[in-house]
Symmetry: C2
Subunit: 222 residues, 2 copies
DNA sequence: ATGGATCCACCTATGGATCCCT
DNA sequence: AGGGATCCATAGGTGGATCCAT
């Protein structure tokens, strides 16, 4: 029942449009999946369901979901007021040594180069299966947006490259934010200190702030 | 039913002695495990069974099995003639960049610093469950043995450090040997070429040659 | 509403080794 | 019998994200 990977961008967006207005339960039925009882125990379920529906391929790789098209898929949870309920995870912050990467070659830029956003109702007042999909839209950063993203990324990665991981806090960044990304607070990953020594710290991820994704929604409103 | 991790070396070896003469089926029964139908589909079963029996802790880490004691556990398959039927895997060959490790700090040396050898009958003429355990013994490399191991390691790692992975062949090394260590021949891992560029190659492991482990058995015969 | 903490799926890498062709 | 190829278990890391205390 899984769709084949789309061959073109327009095929992908056409497929995505067929989601508009459907409930998660409807989609789950079509794909012969069951709706989880608690979302707490299935936090990624909605995203994986939509991936499956659209035939995404790069699951669990630091690459866009639709590799051949260079398009990343992101669901975006929408609250009662029509705004994003959460920030949007993009990718891990590289904390290990040998960081000589530039913005141009960064995973963050690669992932955000072109994104298919799929809004999904996420009010806790609506049962999971009853939540509906909004109208999906394709987005690429405008020149202004990319400039801000690049500056944020540079500012944050400069701290990492200087070994000043402890100064990474979630208040930094205009559109971006760095927050923990791990199974729990005791997970550790390799990093390098200010003096160049080996150390360990909590893994972090790059997230897009809700204020930013909210502006994307507004620009693509009907 | 799993034994607690032993607190001292003598506790460990005393526990190990209780294995002597037992069949694999007997041990499996005690531990409420079942004997696999085919060893082909359970190549690591004997080793894991003995680990479990003795309370080993560092499963799946590049560290000795009994971390607190610094002791590595190795089962050694014995053929009809009383000789090792196979080479003995020690650890992965580090093929990635940033190889500045010395023999003194190498994983290979750490693992071979002190080993509890557990001989196990391995003639294909004996059914898996009927195979018996021989008398376990503790070993540390003699000065001469360590010299040869160190020279082997240095010779092999020099090739890696020079990016001459293709020259790594299983004929090199007196006691050591480098051979593939992967799920299959198409598995690739990161490495660096002679010219310093990124590349990929088949993962390799360090193995002890049967001739060498045979000499260890001989030195510890009753 | 912010941001630190958490939760499942899935894949990969490594530890445990033996298989099996030539 | 030497050495290239293979097989299972399990831990760890990342992708999918949301939870929830303050």
């Amino acid at each position: 029942m899984r769709r084949k990977a789309p061959k073109t961008e327009s095929e992908l967006i056409q497929n995505a449009f067929t989601l508009t207005g459907k409930s998660l339960q409807q989609i789950a039925l079509e794909l012969e999946q069951r709706v989880p009882a608690e979302q707490k125990k299935a936090k990624g379920w909605v995203g994986e369901l939509i991936e499956f529906y659209l035939g995404a391929t790069a699951s669990s790789l630091p690459e866009p979901d639709f590799q051949n098209l260079g398009i990343e898929l992101k669901t975006i949870p929408i609250n009662e007021r029509g705004n994003p309920r959460e920030s949007t995870y993009v990718c891990m912050v590289p904390l290990d040594s040998n960081i000589d990467s530039s913005w141009q070659t960064s995973v963050l830029r690669l992932k955000l180069k072109r994104v298919l956003w799929v809004p999904v109702e996420a009010s806790t007042k609506i049962e999971l299966g009853q939540r509906r999909i909004g109208r999906p839209f394709l987005w690429s950063p405008t020149t202004e947006q990319e400039t801000v993203l690049r500056n944020d990324w540079q500012e944050l990665m400069d701290l990492v490259k200087m070994g000043e991981i402890s100064k990474l806090n979630s208040g930094l960044g205009t559109h971006l934010q760095v927050r923990p990304k791990a199974a729990n607070a005791s997970v550790l990953t390799a990093t390098t200190t200010e003096s160049g020594e080996y150390s360990q710290t909590l893994p972090r991820g790059f997230y897009l702030r809700p204020r930013f994704t909210s502006s994307l929604l507004a620009s693509h409103a009907n």
